[in-house]
Symmetry: C2
Amino acid sequence: MARIVMKFGGTSVADLDRIRNVANRVKREVDAGNEVAVVVSAMSGVTNQLVKWCQELSPLHDAREYDTVVATGEQVTIGLLAIALQTIGVDARSWQGWQVPIRTDDAHGKARVEEIEGAALIGRMKMGQVPVVAGFQGIGPDNRVTTLGRGGSDLSAVAIAAAVKADRCDIYTDVDGIYTTDPRIVPKARKLQAVAYEEMLELASVGAKVLQTRSVELAMKQRVRVQVLSSFEDKPGSMVVDEDEIVEQPLVTGVAYSRDEAKVTLRRVPDKPGIAAHVFGPLSAANVNVDMIVQNLGADGTTDMTFTVGKTDLPRAKAVLEEQRPTIAFEAMLADPDVAKISIVGIGMRSHAGVAATMFKALAEKGINIQVISTSEIKTSVLVGAEYTELAVRALHTAYGLDAEG
Amino acid sequence: MARIVMKFGGTSVADLDRIRNVANRVKREVDAGNEVAVVVSAMSGVTNQLVKWCQELSPLHDAREYDTVVATGEQVTIGLLAIALQTIGVDARSWQGWQVPIRTDDAHGKARVEEIEGAALIGRMKMGQVPVVAGFQGIGPDNRVTTLGRGGSDLSAVAIAAAVKADRCDIYTDVDGIYTTDPRIVPKARKLQAVAYEEMLELASVGAKVLQTRSVELAMKQRVRVQVLSSFEDKPGSMVVDEDEIVEQPLVTGVAYSRDEAKVTLRRVPDKPGIAAHVFGPLSAANVNVDMIVQNLGADGTTDMTFTVGKTDLPRAKAVLEEQRPTIAFEAMLADPDVAKISIVGIGMRSHAGVAATMFKALAEKGINIQVISTSEIKTSVLVGAEYTELAVRALHTAYGLDAEG
């Protein structure tokens, strides 16, 4: 017997038939003797409609009212799923965020979960009742409904799993697991049985959009074992767990890519102390996230600084830097949005040298020029021309022995 | 300066344009220096969709889950209207039933309001903020969302008006007031400036579907002055008030009709004590409402009993009576669904004799046979053949001098 939190996203509850399908899946876990709580999103499309109404009334709408409106999507689903469960003989009841309660801060529209009182839910689960909890929502210190921001239902599920001390948090979605890379690019991509939290964080932040970064961070912090699996097929998914649980650790677990970044180069910046602060301080103040950074020292006391920013932030970044030009004193600013970041990720890289060398060699053999390199403990990323994205991903997938057999 | 509760029904908030229109109406009252609270229904069509989903999943769905689902309709409207108000410079915030709180009993799906804490709303109104309150919903003793049953938003508005000690409760709807009779039958029907609570109760229960009976009862009990007016036109409506406020009291205020009743006659029932209890006890136990009752004593120690029941209850009533036949010992049961009840209503009838005589004369002149007569302090009703409905209503409207001039 295990205690399981099952989370179903919008496409899994898109209509009454799918809600019935979800109810059957829940019943199967209950019949197997497990204690089950369910977390659901809004029926797909509903949240978009609600958001659109708020925006049409006012682009600068009150985030507290936005939350009141948008949180209704999940409220509908929990009631309907509870009815569907009762109809097939499963004792169930719905829980809105304020009823649990799921306490958050007051950052309406993107609130952070601060505390979940798990006692009531645990009590019901022990009695054999299935709590059906609204994802994506909570209650703020002002006694008003808050939402956690897009993708917040995953976060709700992980937080609830931690609060009820669940053995596992199953995230049902429209993919059947986590792959070594994007199967649309590499048909030989393999589904991973298990991924470490740290790996998942790196994979998520560089483009594997299966699990929201914040959910993975929370799972890691609270040691919640997460499974990603398909709500439409009936087979095991991929576990996201502590690295100690992963028996066989390959050097590289996956290859990720992102086309969401743009490259900025500042030419001939005077190389003196504090210059990096002059560049990155104002960017940070303007909410521009900077990712990869390299600096090449020239012979003449100047330096070329290259870094990447989110592609959508590029115009703002350029404006900020132009404004700072008198202070930074660069000679020229070059911006290139046609780049892609390719990363290899694996906790095995910690204990093995030379992993990155294989990457550089594989890319060189395909004639792909590396523009920027950055490394962390379990990741090596390179920036290449955007047109090489697929070629680079395929080459690395093969080079690290990730291709599926047969 | 006055304190006003404004209530807008589903058609008044059917889309964003209408919500903006409602916001403008509210702004006008605020700009005039009034303290305003608003109560709204769900956007029209929304509640029906939500109800349909619950019913499709299970005709015998859990009423608590039904309430969770259905209450979302109003929650969407309050958020959107609050945004629309803020956008035109009116300070506003939304209130869900549990936030006010609007405490009800635990009769989910048709809960009764037990207590509304008006303090928070009054505080906000005094600060110049407009509370936008979800109609139709409250919170039960089980800390779960309840709904008040169809038309419950009117009830919410009246209850909130009482709780905040409002000078007036304005019910905006798709008709512009209360008429002396149905204008579709009598084009010369006049809009009434004022109607007494008691009159409105009689008019509502016999077919004037403008205000829900429960709302009028509550308004009368709490002495809430109610105005019924159009949300699409800009003119005063009809006031529903204490009769002391009505200066000019006509003998008859209005003519109402109902085609929702059916006539049942039990022939040759033995005329002995307790026989009425044998007839009406079992009907009441079967939830069949009996309205008009007459009994004609025959010469032979038997009596004919005639009464009316709701047309939809007729099959049930017949089954119950057939079952009781050995006890009641009637000779024959006749049922006639083709009847209409025509009523004249007016508090002036209390102090004047002979008002009913005019009714009987007017109907006789048109050759309309009266099947049953029943009277109360401020109402006289007759049962006639259904095909005479319009003719009877027109004749009485003219006979009591209610026709508009010109």
